[in-house]
Symmetry: C2
Subunit: 433 residues, 2 copies
C-alpha cells in the first residue's frame, strides 16, 4: 500500500483503547467510537479521531475493528439503526475482536448475507493477553474467516499481535471464537483455583507468601496463579486488573456453548456458580484474585504460621496437590472440548501452553492427551493414581477443617468417575461418552 489506510474502531475500553492507540502510534488514521464521552476525549488527546456515531465512524473505512464487551453490544454496534454496517463501504473488512460465542460470530456472517452485505470481509478474531500487550500491539489473536477475508485483513491482525501469536484457525468464521473459548476453559477453572488454593491454605494456617513460593515454578504452577497471586498477596482487588464479571462472562460463553453442543463442562460449571455467588456478595467489579475472600476474611499474607518445617511442608503439599489435580482435569476439559468442536488440537496446545491458560500440568499432560483424542495412542495412556491419591488427601483434610473446595471436590469426582485405575484415556472418556 502506498499510504496507510484509515481504520474505524469501536469499543475503547481497557483493551480497545490500547489497541486503537497502538494503531495511531503506528501511523494510522483511526476514527474511534465509544459510548463513554470522557474516553473519547482521552482518545483524541492520544491522536485518535473521536466519533459519536457508529455509522459515521465506519464511513469510508475499508477496515474496521469492533472491540465491544459482549455479543449483545456487538449486535447493536454492527446492525443497530446507526450501526457500523450502515457506514462501511463496499468490500470493507470488519474484524470482530470481542470474546463472543462462536454461534454469535456465525450469526453475524449469516445476517450480513441476509441483508445483502456479503461484500463485507468479516473476520472472527478474539484476542487475549491483557491491556499492556494490547497497547504494545503484541496480543495473541485467534482468528477464523474465509481465506479471502484473512488475506484482506492479515496486515491489520499482524499490527495488533505479536509475530508468533497470530493463530489462524482452520474452519472459517467461528473457529477463532471456539479457540478462544476452549482456551478460556483453562482460564475459567484456573482463576478460581488460585483463590481456592490460597483460601484452603489460609484455613490450614499457611501464609500466602509460603504458598506462592511452593507453587510458582513447580508442578502446581499455572500462569494464572503466578499472575493473580501478586494481587492476592497485596489485596490489590479494587479494582485490580481483571474483574470477576469478565471471567464470569467468558465462563458463561463456555457453558452456554457446551449446552448447545451437548458437551459436559463440569468444572467450568462449578466455577460459574461460584462466580455467580461472588457477584451476589458484591465482588463482581473487584479483581478475581479477591475471590480468596470467599474463604478468608484475613489477608492471606498476614497469617501467622506456627508449624514445624515438616508440618508446614506437609500442609503446603496438600495445597499443591489440590492445584495439580484441578489443573489436570482442566486440561482434559479444555482439550476434550476443542476436540468436540473440531479444532486442531496441536494449535490449541501451542497457543495455550504459553498463554494465560498455561500450567505445568497442561504442558505435561496436554501433550499426552492430544494423541489419545486423535486415536493414535490410547493403549499408551498414563496411569494417574498418584494424582488421585494426592487430591483425595487434600479434599479429606478440607472436609476435616470444614473448608469448601468447589473445584477440588469436582475434580476428585471426575477422577473417581474414571475408576480405580485412573488413566488419561479414561479421564478423557468422561467428556466424550
Amino acid at each position: 500500500m502506498s499510504s496507510k489506510p484509515a481504520i474505524g474502531f469501536c469499543g475503547l475500553g481497557a483493551m480497545g483503547f490500547g489497541m486503537a492507540t497502538h494503531l495511531v502510534k503506528q501511523g494510522y488514521s483511526v476514527t474511534g467510537f465509544d459510548v463513554y464521552a470522557p474516553t473519547l476525549d482521552k482518545f483524541k488527546a492520544a491522536g485518535g479521531i473521536p466519533s459519536t456515531s457508529l455509522s459515521e465512524s465506519a464511513k469510508d473505512k475499508h477496515f474496521y475493528v469492533c472491540m465491544v464487551a459482549t455479543a449483545q453490544q456487538a449486535q447493536a454496534a454492527i446492525f443497530g439503526e446507526d450501526g457500523i454496517e450502515k457506514g462501511l463501504p463496499k468490500g470493507a473488512t470488519l474484524l470482530l475482536c470481542s470474546t463472543v460465542p462462536s454461534a454469535y460470530a456465525t450469526s453475524v456472517e449469516k445476517e450480513l448475507k441476509e441483508i445483502g452485505r456479503d461484500d463485507v470481509y468479516f473476520i472472527d478474531a478474539p484476542v487475549s493477553g491483557g491491556a499492556i500487550r494490547a497497547a504494545d500491539g503484541t496480543l495473541s489473536i485467534m482468528t477464523g474467516a474465509s481465506p479471502s477475508a484473512i488475506e484482506k485483513g492479515k496486515w491489520l491482525l499482524e499490527e495488533l499481535s505479536a509475530p508468533s501469536k497470530l493463530f489462524i484457525v482452520e474452519g472459517g468464521i467461528g473457529a477463532g471464537s471456539n479457540m478462544k473459548m476452549v482456551h478460556q476453559v483453562l482460564a475459567a477453572i484456573q482463576i478460581l483455583a488460585v483463590s481456592e488454593a490460597f483460601g484452603f491454605a489460609a484455613r490450614l494456617g499457611l501464609n500466602g507468601k509460603d504458598v506462592r513460593e511452593a507453587v510458582v515454578g513447580g508442578r502446581a504452577w499455572s500462569w494464572m496463579f503466578e499472575n493473580r497471586s501478586v494481587r492476592t498477596l497485596k489485596e490489590d482487588y479494587f479494582p485490580g486488573a481483571s474483574a470477576v464479571t469478565i471471567i464470569l462472562k467468558d465462563t458463561g460463553i463456555i457453558t452456554s456453548m457446551a449446552r448447545l453442543l451437548n458437551f459436559p463442562a463440569p468444572l467450568c460449571s462449578i466455577a460459574e456458580q461460584v462466580y455467580l455467588s461472588s457477584v451476589d456478595k458484591g465482588y463482581g467489579p473487584n479483581d478475581d484474585a479477591g475471590l480468596v475472600r470467599l474463604w478468608s476474611s484475613e489477608p492471606v499474607s498476614n497469617i501467622q504460621t506456627e508449624f514445624s518445617d515438616e508440618d508446614k511442608k506437609a500442609k503446603l503439599e496438600l495445597v499443591t496437590n489440590l492445584l495439580i489435580g484441578i489443573h489436570l482435569c482442566a486440561a482434559a476439559e479444555s482439550i476434550a472440548f476443542a476436540k468436540h468442536v473440531g479444532l486442531p488440537l496441536p494449535q490449541l496446545y501451542e497457543l495455550a501452553v504459553d498463554a494465560a491458560g498455561g500450567s505445568a500440568m497442561f504442558k505435561e499432560f496436554g501433550a499426552k492427551m492430544i494423541p489419545i483424542l486423535e486415536g493414535e495412542r490410547a493403549e499408551n495412556a498414563e496411569v494417574l493414581g498418584s494424582y488421585l491419591e494426592g487430591l483425595k488427601k487434600a479434599v479429606e483434610e478440607a472436609q476435616n477443617i470444614k473448608c469448601p473446595l468447589y473445584l477440588g471436590s469436582g475434580a476428585l469426582n471426575l477422577m473417581l468417575q474414571s475408576g480405580k485405575n485412573l488413566d488419561l484415556a479414561t479421564l478423557l472418556t468422561l467428556y466424550t461418552v
Copy 2:
C-alpha cells in the same frame, strides 16, 4: 420374658430422648446418660433413671442403646475410660443407633474383639424418621449384625420401629449404616434442592406459595420438598427442626466413604460444598430450609408476582424441571452407590420410596434403574432426552438472570456426560466406570 429387662441408654438429644422415653412408657426401666445435666432432669421427670456415669449406666444392663451424634462421640462413649463397655455384663446386646460411617461400625466390632469383649452382641442400627416418630416408637431402622445378635436384639429394635419399618439388611455389621448412607444420598441432595428451587423461583419473580403448589403432588415432588417447604414459607429456621450441621454431617459420611471406596458422588459433593459455605455464613445451627437465604434475602412468600397466567406457568415449569432433573440424578447416585457397596437394591427401594429420601422421580425411575444395575435389562433403558432438555432450559434461564444453580448445573453436566442419547443405563454408567 417374665419381666421386662432393664435398658441402658446414652445420648438423650432430640431423637434419643424420644426413643428412651418411649421405652419408659412401654414399661421398661431405662437408665439414661447424657453430658447435659438439664436433659437428665427432664429424663428423670419423664420416668427415666438418670446417670452421670457411662459405665454405671451400663452396669447389669443386658441391653444398651447408644444414640450419640457422631462416630467420634460413640467411640468415646463405648470405649472411653468410663465407657459403656466397662459396665456391660457378659453377653449384653449393644445397639449403635447413631448415623456413622459403616467403616466405623465395622471398627467397633473389631475393637470389641481385640479387647476380649466379643461376648457383646453388637448391632449396627441407624434410624430415620425424626423426633416425633422416635417418641412414638415408629422409626425406620436399618440394621445389620450377626444372626445371633439380631436374634437377641430384635425385640428392642421392634419396640423402637414401626412394624413395616424395621429393615434387617444382609451383610452383617456395617450393612445398616451403609443402607442409611445411601438413603442419605437422596436426603443430602434433595434438601439443598428445596432451597435451590425456591431461590431460583424467587429470582424469577415467583411467590413461594405458588411454587409449593406446583411441586407437591406432581413429578417434581420429593418428601423433603413437601416437608421443608412448610418451614420455608414460614421462615421457621431458628432453630426449626433440622439444622444444616446435621445434613452436613451425613453428607460428609457419604463423601468420605465414597473417597474410601473409590466411588464418585458428584451431586453430594456439590451439596457438601454449599453446606460448608452456608456454615461459613453462620447458617449452621439454623434449619436447612433456611438455605434459601443463599438466593433470596426477601422471604419467598412475600414476593409479588405480576406475570400473566401463561408466563407464570412457564416460569413454574422451569422450577419443576430443575427439581425433576436433580431428583433423577439423585436417584442414580443413591442406587449406584448401593450397588457399589453391595446392598440389596430392592430393599433400598422399598425403604426409601416411602421415607425422607422419596421423590416422584425415585419412585418411577428408581424402579427401572435396579434391573439395569442387576444386569437384567440394560437393553431396555429408557431414553431421557426430555429431562435433559427441561433441565437445560432451567439452567439457561438461571444463567440469564445470574442465579447460581449448584445442583441443577451439576445434574445437567451428568446428563451431558451421558451423551446425546441420554438413557438410564448410560447415566448409571457414570457411577460405575
